[in-house]
């Protein structure tokens, strides 16, 4: 039985899709069966980040409306055979998502995979609510800036109110992934530091992904960053996060605020 995870943030452009692809790839590289689901109907991106845009025939909406079978819509990754993508429709909008249809698709996916990772659209409207609706756990992606953190706080409140799990009176597992973290700028006080973010959001930390050009390069290549350059700091940070998701106890390697010089060297080498 799969674990269903929603990757969400409230704010756009913080790295949800990159995170979905990187964590999905990292888990699948470990041999587990993973399906990444693009919920951003009308603005789909996950297919591009995974380099599968030319292979989309059927999509989530076709499956929800019964026009295609789930097996017809799933796209198996060419590099990692245990990784599959369920793409969103680019020609429709979020109104085409139906509550019952999503419940049915998620239930089917649960039988086929070990992990189902749902890439939520930005915002707090219908699309985002439906993406989180059937999740067992949530990864909240945030950037070290006040607007992103406040939006994350808002989405955490919605996870505790609008999900099936919350409505059953159960506790929604939530963890935080801080993306685009620049230790040098945080040290200069130009960014929120990790402690402040954790204090404001008060949920457990899953990982810290340093700001890295490698992430952008990987997205443009259509390859998850954990595949394109496994030794880059972003890839290593995502792999650590995936191991923590798996229940492993991995030490949190916070790009330190104190070791200024080392961090700078480190950052330059990675860039």
């Amino acid at each position: 039985m799969a674990k269903v995870i929603v990757v969400t943030s409230g704010k756009g452009g913080v790295g949800k899709t990159t995170t979905t692809a990187a964590l999905g790839a990292a888990l699948a590289q470990g041999g587990q069966k993973v399906c990444v689901v693009d919920f951003d109907v009308g603005l789909r991106n996950l297919d591009l980040v995974l380099g599968a845009e030319r292979r989309v025939v059927y999509d989530l909406i076709n499956v929800i409306q019964g026009a295609a079978k789930l097996s017809q819509a799933l796209i198996r990754d060419k590099r990692i055979e245990t990784l599959s993508l369920l793409p969103a429709s680019q020609t429709r909008d979020k109104d085409a998502l139906s509550e019952e249809g999503i419940a049915r698709v998620i239930a089917e996916l649960r039988k086929l995979f070990d992990w189902v990772i749902c890439d939520s659209p930005a915002g707090i409207e219908r699309g985002a609510i439906l993406a989180m609706r059937h999740a067992d756990a949530a990864i909240i992606v945030t950037n070290p800036e006040v607007s992103s953190v406040r939006d994350s706080d808002r989405i955490i409140g919605m996870l505790d109110a609008k999900t099936v799990k919350a409505e059953r009176g159960e506790r929604m597992d939530k963890c935080l992934l801080i993306a685009r973290y620049d230790p040098a700028r945080a040290a200069r006080g130009e960014m929120l530091n990790i402690e402040d973010i954790l204090e404001i959001l008060s949920i457990p930390l899953l990982g810290i992904i340093p700001e890295s050009d490698e992430v952008l390069r990987a997205s443009n290549l259509g390859t998850p960053v954990t595949l394109s350059n496994a030794s880059s700091i972003a890839a290593r940070a995502y792999c650590d996060a995936a191991r923590r998701l798996n229940g492993e106890d991995v030490e949190m390697a916070i790009p330190s605020d104190r070791k200024g010089l080392l961090v700078k060297l480190f950052g330059r080498r990675a860039a």
Binding site: R150, D151, D153, R154, G157, D160, E199, I200
Partner: protein, 259 residues
């Protein structure tokens, strides 16, 4: 006990709250349209309990102690606690009439049992607060279940997240976590926060100038007590991030550090 009794006079149309008016225009165009107005009255619900004879003698005691209590007051007979035949209902109503009580309607009975000589069947009554009880009255006319005490404090174990609004006008609110930026807590009494206030905290919201606000870390967007407020701009920089309490001195909000 007293029930508020809403008497909708017409079912045809009811828009907005308060008095609903329905115009019947189809009968005669020359005459002004007939208007029906809704009225609501606060009515006493008399609730007989078995055995009815004992209940009646208890009612007699009440009437002796508070003569004229029922004069001019609408009374409804609530028969949900007893099961009486049509004949027994007629007898009970006549007993009440001998005591000067004329029920305007009967609740909690089978409508078919109520013959033409009896008060009409009513439904849809809602409980209402006791606001006309005679101070000298020794006891309620009928023993009823003790009213449930509403809690006078609210404890929130989880943080109040951005976009959430918690309103509790019955008393104090205690927040174990923080009130996030863009979140608000509105309390009739004081607000106690064991984390940070980054959003809005409004204490004494239904006119209590003695309410206070306490928190472990003050970074608020707005603090208010009994309608007097300060925004973060008015807030002394020396208090930012510290544990504080806020209270009213006259019309001025005073904030002091707790450490």
């Amino acid at each position: 006990m007293i029930d508020s009794l809403i008497k909708p006079v017409s079912h045809a149309r009811s828009e907005g709250a308060g008095v609903s008016e329905v115009a019947l225009t189809s009968v005669a165009q020359s005459r002004p349209p007939m208007r029906f107005r809704g009225r609501s009255f606060m009515a006493f619900a008399l609730t007989p309990e078995p055995p009815v004879a004992d209940w009646l003698s208890e009612l007699d005691n009440w009437i002796r102690n508070s003569a004229g209590f029922f004069v001019g007051r609408p009374v409804v007979l609530d028969l949900s606690a007893v099961s009486l035949s049509g004949h027994a209902i007629a007898h009970l109503v006549s007993e009440l009439e001998q005591r000067g009580i004329r029920p305007m309607g009967i609740e909690g009975a089978d409508a078919a049992q109520l013959g033409p000589g009896l008060p009409p069947f009513l439904k849809g009554g809602r409980p209402a607060g006791v606001d006309v009880l005679d101070g000298t009255a020794p006891a309620k006319p009928a023993p009823t279940k003790p009213a449930r005490q509403d809690p006078t404090s609210l404890l929130l174990e989880d943080p109040v997240r951005s976009g959430q609004s918690v309103t509790f006008l019955n008393g104090d609110v205690t927040v174990m976590g923080s009130i996030g930026s863009g979140a608000e807590v509105i309390a009739g009494g004081s607000i106690h926060v064991y984390g940070a206030i980054r959003g809005r905290a409004m204490a004494g919201a239904n006119g209590n100038p003695h309410a206070r606000i306490f928190c472990q870390k003050a970074e608020p967007e707005l603090l208010a007590i009994d309608g007097y407020y300060q925004t973060s701009e008015d807030f002394s920089a020396s208090l930012h991030g510290r544990p504080i309490q806020a209270w009213l001195e006259g019309n001025v909000m005073t904030i002091a550090a707790l450490d």
